[in-house]
């Protein structure tokens, strides 16, 4: 990550605009490793300002996958906090701006959930999920919504 992804200008810009970045060396003996159950590197987490975990993933990602993954994480954070308007906006941004990323079909799934939970709008949920079947037919997320009728 340090040689490919973090030096990327778009990654730098995204992180600086959206996060307070914190790096912990796993060889430092920090008690944070146990607290956040970090057993492999890289382990990337999104926390709130009190240290509560909202999203995580492991392993290297190139810039064009790393940014949408972080954007997805921000959307999931808002969803879990029940800020559905923000969640929908952030999740939709993943699909609109990074449609070919691996994060996009997952983001579309959770966008549907956010739209439903905001207004109990079943049609919005099903419409969002049909888009997964249409645009990402080979994804695991298409399998998750395979029961949705056309």
């Amino acid at each position: 990550m340090g040689t490919v992804t973090y030096p990327d200008a778009a990654v730098v810009d995204f992180i600086n605009k959206n996060f307070i970045p914190l790096q912990i060396n796993v060889q430092s003996g920090s008690d944070l490793l146990g607290k956040y159950r970090a057993f492999w590197t890289p382990t990337i987490l999104i926390l709130d300002s009190q240290g509560a975990e909202y999203y995580r993933f492991n392993g290297f990602l190139p810039p064009d996958e790393f940014i949408p993954q972080l954007q997805l994480g921000l959307g999931m954070m808002s969803l879990e906090r029940q800020d559905y308007k923000t969640a929908s906006s952030k999740l939709k941004l993943v699909v609109d701006k990074y449609p070919r990323s691996n994060a996009a079909p997952e983001a579309q799934y959770w966008f549907g959930v956010s739209e439903y939970k905001a207004a109990h709008n079943v049609d919005a949920l099903l419409s969002a999920w049909r888009k997964i079947k249409k645009d990402y037919p080979n994804s695991i997320w298409a399998k998750k919504v395979s029961f949705v009728k056309e």
């Binding site: 990550m1 340090g2 040689t3 973090y6 030096p7 200008a9 990654v11 730098v12 810009d13 992180i15 600086n16 959206n18 996060f19 307070i20 970045p21 914190l22 790096q23 912990i24 060396n25 796993v26 060889q27 944070l32 490793l33 956040y36 970090a38 590197t41 890289p42 382990t43 990337i44 987490l45 999104i46 926390l47 709130d48 300002s49 009190q50 240290g51 909202y54 972080l70 921000l74 954070m77």
Partner: protein, 59 residues
């Protein structure tokens, strides 16, 4: 005499500014990582931003 002094000042200012610009021309923005958890949470509270925590292994 005054004009000579002013001319020297202007030339010096131009040279210093040019040297500074040349020195920083190749620099691009980087991520400034916090290394202490409490510092990160304090900044996150003040900025009302989430924290991106990266557990890494040095090369």
């Amino acid at each position: 005499m005054l004009k000579y002094g002013l001319l020297c000042f202007v030339i010096s200012a131009v040279l210093i500014t040019t040297a500074f610009a040349a020195g920083t021309q190749g620099e691009s923005p980087t991520i400034v990582w916090e290394k202490i958890f409490d510092d990160a949470t304090t900044k996150a509270k003040n900025a009302e931003m989430p924290i991106l925590l990266d557990f890494f292994s040095p090369a």
